[in-house]
């Protein structure tokens, strides 16, 4: 048959290297969303699904999930425009509030810091460890400064929401922008962002004051002016907590 001659061997097979698969055993569930590792069209990825919370009123629940998914996408894209690394977005299902995004190869900042701590656990190495985490803080602070300068507050800065691509502290990747805000961002909001980070570090890492000292140092590198205004607010917030006084 003449048509058979035209047939290229293998041309009518499904192309390899672009398959989908999901690893249901890797499911991790937080308060907010479920994370599952997967492969999307051949790329390592992760599905983040903001599932229904039965303890919330259904209407409120769907609005919150929608708003947070949207805020997350907007935050991730805005950060990219500002030159801050965030995961690539591969697929969005607006109905299920699920996002498929790039899987970042590397530890969380939390894990990285604690790994460094055990590497330098000897008494004599303590100074070295303090130097390392301070250096890390400077790099982190610089990135946060850039984020804030561009008018984006992350909303949930913790050492678990920062990843180190290939374990490289120069390649910080910010994740979880579900509570991010942008537009007209006041020094108050920026201050709260830093305050949340400070509290998060204090409660997850012992003997790690140097991180925050580094962060503030790096933060001022991004913009002196912003750093002064936010620093002043931060001192106020430390006294009263992140919620504003409602008296009067």
């Amino acid at each position: 048959m003449s048509s058979d001659e035209e047939m290229d061997e293998g041309a009518d097979c499904i192309a390899s290297g672009f398959a989908n698969s999901i690893d249901l055993a890797s499911l991790k569930q937080g308060a907010e969303a479920k994370l599952t590792e997967c492969v999307y069209l051949g790329r390592n990825a992760i599905v983040k699904e903001r599932f229904q919370k039965s303890y919330r009123h259904p209407i409120l629940d769907s609005r919150l999930n929608k708003a947070r998914t949207k805020a997350e996408l907007r935050g991730i894209m805005k950060a990219k425009d500002l030159g801050i690394q965030t995961p690539a977005i591969f697929f969005i299902d607006g109905e299920k509030n699920s996002i498929i995004m790039e899987r970042i190869d590397g530890p969380t900042a939390k894990l990285w810091i604690e790994t460094k701590r055990s590497e330098f656990s000897a008494e004599a190495d303590n100074n070295r460890f303090q130097e390392i985490i301070r250096g890390f803080g400077v790099l982190l602070g610089e990135q946060i400064g850039k984020l804030h300068l561009g008018g984006l507050v992350h909303g949930d800065l913790t050492t678990s929401n920062i990843l180190l691509r290939n374990s490289d502290e120069n390649l910080l990747v910010f994740i979880d922008f579900g509570l991010s805000g942008q537009g007209k961002v006041t020094p108050e909001e920026k201050g709260v962002d830093l305050y949340v980070l400070e509290r998060a570090i204090a409660s997850t890492h012992i003997n790690s004051e140097q991180i925050m000292i580094g962060v503030l140092e790096g933060y001022s590198k991004a913009s002196q002016k912003q750093s002064l205004a936010v620093g002043k607010k931060l001192d106020e917030i430390r006294l009263r907590g992140r919620k504003r006084d409602m008296i009067g």
Binding site: A11, D12, I76, A88, I89, F91
Partner: protein, 182 residues
């Protein structure tokens, strides 16, 4: 069909009960682009004809195709046909006609990607290829004819501070998030 490449998509990723096939074929030295445009306008071609210089790599094309079949499976298409939806899905813009003009074939195109859906046997592509006066080349050549500086302009990635290898990732993020951002 020779040189064409078949891919499997899941309109709802990881829901294996649904599957959709898309077939791509790259054509160079296209001689009758004006005629093809006319046929498209008369709806005599049931396929997407895409300007290949704006497509960086297969993954970008597939992510856009997956977006298109997802929208179609949920009756949320922005365009009238799945083929048009694919072209619209490649664009960072939400303006449909701008997107079709930018990413679709134009009268002076010389290199195009043809895409057919539900064409597992390749018969649709075969029929289409008869209408295209051009040389089909293996699909691995996709990306050789892409115009990176034009791509950067179209997707508005002027930011200096990101690595060149992340350009496709940036483009895909732009594409899939366009309905949710702004």
């Amino acid at each position: 069909m020779k040189n064409s490449q078949l891919y499997e998509l899941q309109p709802d990723p990881y829901d294996v009960t649904q599957r959709k096939f898309v077939r791509f074929c790259l054509f160079n030295d296209v001689k009758n682009a004006a005629e093809l445009c006319q046929l498209l306008r008369e709806q005599k071609i049931d396929a997407a004809l895409i300007r290949s210089e704006l497509v960086l790599e297969p993954f970008v094309l597939l992510a856009a195709a997956n977006r298109a079949v997802h929208q179609s499976a949920h009756n949320r298409m922005s365009c009238r046909s799945l083929s048009a939806e694919l072209i619209y899905s490649l664009s960072p813009s939400r303006n449909i006609s701008d997107s079709l003009v930018t990413f679709g074939i134009s009268e002076n195109s010389t290199s195009i990607i043809a895409a057919t859906f539900d064409d597992k046997s390749g018969s649709l592509m075969k029929k289409l290829a008869k209408k295209i006066k051009a040389k089909s080349v293996p699909f691995e050549n996709l990306g050789k004819s892409s115009n990176v500086s034009l791509i950067k302009k179209v997707y508005q990635v002027g930011n200096p501070s990101f690595a060149p290898e992340s350009l496709p990732d940036h483009i895909i993020s732009r594409i899939v998030s366009k309905d949710f951002v702004s």
